[in-house]
Each structure stands twice: as C-alpha cells, then as structure tokens.
C-alpha cells in the first residue's frame, strides 16, 4: 500500500509538469484557437535560462528562477508579435506549421550557443537530495518524497492560485477570458485584442518555462528535453482541450498512470501509457473531462 502511495506521489509530481505544459497549450488554444507545437521547446528554453542564471550569472536559484520566467514572458510576447501576428487570418494549418518550425529552430539554435550546446546539463538547486517524509515516525514507515518532487507540486499549486486570481479577479484577466470567448465582441468593447493575445503568449511561455525549471532538477537540461511536450499534449486532450482545470487534471492523470504503468506493467508500457489513456478518453468521452460543449443562442 505504501509503495502504491509512493508511486502515486511521484506520479503526481510528474503529472504537474505535464499539467503545466498542457496549460501552456490550452492558454494559447483558448485565446487564439491555434496549437503551439513549440510549447515543449519553450519549456526547454526556460531550463537553459535557469542554467545560465545560476551558473553563468551566479544568481541564487530562486532569483534565477524568477528571472527566467520574466525573460520567457517577454520572449513569448515577442514571438507572438514578430512571428504570429503577421499570420493573422491565415489558415490554422499555417500557424501550426510555423510553430513546429519555431520548435525546430529553438532546438537547433540552442545547440549553437556556447555553454548550452548539445551537452546534458545539471541544474544545481539548493534542495538537491533532500527528503521529506510524511506520516510514520521520522524516516521510517512514512511516505517519503524527494524535495524535488515536493517543490514541483508546491510551485505548481502556487502558480495555479496565481493564475486563478489573475483570471478571476483582475480586469486584464477577465478581458483575456472575454477575448477567448468572443473575439469580435471584445473588439466592440474596446478591449485591445491583439495586445491581450500577445500577453497570453507571454504567460503561456512563462508557464512552460516554469515547467522546465521544475523538471530540470529531476532529469537534466538538454536541447531535446522539450519532447516531453508530446506527453503534455495528451494531457491537454484528456482534460478537454480548452479547459484550464482540465489541463492540470489531465496532466495528473497521465503522470500517475504513467508512473504506475512503469512499475507494475512490463517494460515499455511506461512510454505508451499516456497515449493509451488518450485513446481511451477519445473513445469514451471525446470532449475530454472538462470539455465545453456550448452552443450559441440565437
């Protein structure tokens, strides 16, 4: 039983990472109805920025963390302004191809930057190799989690609360929701729709970068770490593309199922578990867990 809980706990931590990247997908999808396939690569850039912040600039970890998020916020906004806005009005396919291209470009360019390159890096964190035990007495008999996992869960929770407050209680947040629900009406209200979309790209990039920074201590920082986005995509689908809570729940489901499959099932199932979950979900409930099915009233 304890072993099971142990697995679930680390699955949740892994799921938080998927959930955050899925959140990035969903934010952009809701606002602009396009899917950003470079989401995983934005995450990778976040990881590398954290690396530069701590090692090259010598910042304390959390300062580097915050700085990386800020840089990625502006990077995301710039990406929208320079690459995507000129494509406004083009078919969705064009935009999707461009985001795939941006992903390739990011992976390629990263390997050309000195200090980053093709090597595998370790992001040094102050909480490395610490252990938290819950329940039981001391380190015996309780649920044991590595500090890395605890931090992942805690930071994800904080981020979610912050985003919730932003979307529910600030004018700009409500305007972002409004724009995603009815862009034309947002124009009529005088909401600066283009600027709002730019901000959404920024936030999405920052959220992904946050996932990268949280994941880095558990795995490594590498030019190809962005491929984890391929598992976050099923998370977004399971949650019902277009639902923010859905993205997180979907991420958690994928994370937990994957971890359990890795332990209880034969070799190889770990890697395909996410896709099996998404296939089952599509067969049973194609709209996803939190999928919206709104019809317009005439």
């Amino acid at each position: 039983m304890l072993q099971f809980l142990q697995l679930v706990a680390s699955g949740i931590a892994q799921g938080c990472i998927y959930g955050l990247i899925a959140l990035g997908f969903v934010l952009i999808y809701k606002a602009t109805e396009t899917i950003n396939f470079a989401q995983g690569d934005l995450m990778m850039l976040g990881g590398f920025l954290g690396l530069t912040g701590t090692l090259a600039l010598g910042l304390p970890f959390w300062a580097a963390f915050a700085a990386a998020l800020l840089v990625m916020l502006f990077f995301g906004m710039a990406l929208e302004r320079v690459v995507l806005r000129p494509l406004l009005g083009q078919p969705a396919f064009t935009v999707v191809m461009v985001t795939i291209g941006v992903g390739y470009l990011a992976r390629g360019l990263v390997t050309m930057i000195p200090e980053w390159g093709t090597d595998t890096h370790v992001l040094p964190v102050p909480y490395k190799d610490q252990i938290v035990s819950l329940g039981g007495n001391g380190t015996e008999g309780g649920l044991i989690m590595s500090m890395e996992h605890v931090v992942v869960i805690a930071v994800t929770a904080l981020l979610i609360v912050a985003l919730y407050l932003l979307f529910k209680h600030t004018r700009i947040g409500i305007a972002m929701q409004a724009t995603s629900q009815n862009q034309l009406a947002a124009f009529y209200m005088g909401i600066p729709v283009r600027r709002i979309n730019m901000l959404v790209w920024g936030i999405s990039a920052a959220v992904s970068a946050c996932a990268g920074l949280l994941l880095a201590p558990i795995t490594f920082v590498h030019a190809n770490m962005g491929f984890i986005g391929l598992k976050a995509f099923p998370a977004a689908v399971v949650g019902g593309f277009g639902s923010i809570p859905g993205a997180l729940v979907g991420g958690l489901i994928i994370g937990v199922v994957e971890t359990l499959a890795g332990f209880y099932l034969p070799e190889g199932f770990k890697d395909i578990a996410a896709y099996i979950v998404v296939l089952v979900m599509l067969a049973v409930k194609p709209n996803g867990l939190f999928g919206e099915n709104l019809r317009k009233k005439v």
Partner: protein
C-alpha cells in the same frame, strides 16, 4: 436638424470584392433617436461596423463631433463615446453577467471603478432581471435577457452615442416593445443619442424620431418617422399595409414581390 453629432459622407465599404454599402450619407443629431430600415443584406450592419471601426471604408468619411474617425482603431472609437451593441448580442457566454458588464467598461480608467459600480447599479434599475442573475454565466440567459445584457454592457462604456444592431432580432413582439421602451428611456434620461438599424420597421418607426430607408447599399428615402409612416412605399413594403391593388405594377416594386 439641430447640431449634428455623427455624419456619414458618401461612405463605401465592402467585404472583399462585394460592396455592402455604396455611398451612404446620413446625419444623426445630438440627443435624437435615428433609425435605418432595410431588409436582409441591405447593408445596415455594415454601416454600424464602419462607424465603430470594425470595417474600414474604401471611400467617404465618418465625422463624429466634427472630426473624421474613419479607419481608426475600434478601441479608440469606443473611448470617444461610441458604443456598439452588435447584432446577435455577442455576449461573453462563460463570463458572469457582472463580468460582462465590467468588460463593457473596459476602456474606462481604473480610477473610475467607483463610478462604474454605481452605473452597474443604475443599469440594474433598467433591467432588474440582470441583478437577479448577476453571478450566473451570461450564456444561461434567455435571448431577451442577453439583449438586455448587451445593451447594458454598451451603456457602461458611458457612450455619447449608442449604435444598436437589430435589437429586436429573435425576440417576441412584447419583448421587442419593452426593449425599445427602455432604449427611449435611456435616450431621454441619460441623453444618449441612439442610432438603431432594424428590419422590424413597425417598431423602429414607432420609437424613432428620424428614419432612413436603405436598399442594396443605398439610402433611398429619409424623413422624420411620422412622415415615413405615412408614405405609400414604406407602408406597403415595410409595414405590410396595402390598399387593394395589382401586385407589381410599378417597376421597382416588382423587384420586391415574391413571385
């Protein structure tokens, strides 16, 4: 007419190669209720969209308080006091009624928060049902309530002039009259100038002061509504009142008969 607040001079707008309005000129004087009548596809909505900057006209000018405003940013135009109630309400379905109203006030400074709250209270006075449903998602409202919400939302931009695009669309006759009563009240009590485009000529002519008739992108007639109501052509084609007679005797009428 007294002082003109909004004037269109020879405006031409199109969707791609399709010209929707071809040289429309009209005047709206301060404090009045003006209507533009026309059938489906006559270009009514295009006129409003051109005024509020959603569509840029190819030719002509839109003059608001003596200044040309064509080809400006829609957000800028809203800030100048032109609020648009779009066709088919276009509310934000997942936001609550209150949040919808707050979005209507988006262009106003953050410092006006208290004034906005007070105005939300006033708007609830016009439409008490909205207060009851303040915290429900707007998508759950009925069609009529959504129209009320759309009008209220536009009011929160503190407009000098309000553009209404077919407020009667999809509403029962009773509800249509109620909505128009309130539009008149808004005009009288708050001094908001109203430009309303309508297919429902009977109601529009009853409540408006001055009317234009638009056919395939051109203004074909204009007069005070009391005069328009009595014109034979308007009676026959927009009000459905007809003296006994042979259908399609006059050429331009023949075009409009259904056979």
């Amino acid at each position: 007419m007294s002082d003109v607040i909004l004037q269109l001079n020879n405006v031409e707008s199109s969707y791609g190669p399709v010209k929707a309005i071809r040289g429309v000129s009209l005047k709206v004087s301060q404090g009045s209720v003006v209507t533009v009548l026309g059938a489906n596809g006559a270009g009514k909505s295009t006129i409003l969209k051109t005024i509020s900057g959603i569509i840029d006209p190819q030719k002509g000018s839109v003059v608001y308080r003596g200044e040309p405003i064509q080809k400006k940013d829609p957000a800028w135009i809203v800030r100048q006091g032109i609020a648009h109630v779009p066709e088919g309400r276009e509310i934000f379905p997942l936001l609550t009624v209150r949040e919808n109203l707050l979005m209507g006030a988006y262009t106003r400074a953050l410092g006006e928060r208290a004034a906005v709250e007070q105005e939300i209270g006033q708007v609830y006075g016009y439409f008490p049902i909205l207060k009851e449903r303040a915290n429900q998602p707007a998508g759950q409202l009925s069609g009529g309530q959504q129209q009320m919400l759309a009008i209220s939302r536009a009011l929160l931009a503190k407009p000098t002039i309000m553009l209404l695009d077919e407020p009667s669309l999809g509403l029962s006759p009773k509800l249509t009259h109620e909505i128009f009563e309130i539009i008149r009240r808004i005009n009288a009590e708050r001094g908001v100038t109203i430009l309303v485009v309508e297919q429902n000529a009977r109601v529009a002519l009853k409540y408006a002061d001055y009317g234009y008739v638009l056919e395939v992108g051109r203004i074909v007639m204009e007069d005070p509504c009391s005069v328009l109501r009595e014109k034979e052509d308007v009676k026959e084609f927009y009000l459905g009142i007809k003296d006994a007679g042979v259908r399609g005797t006059r050429r331009w009428k023949k075009k409009k008969t259904w056979r």
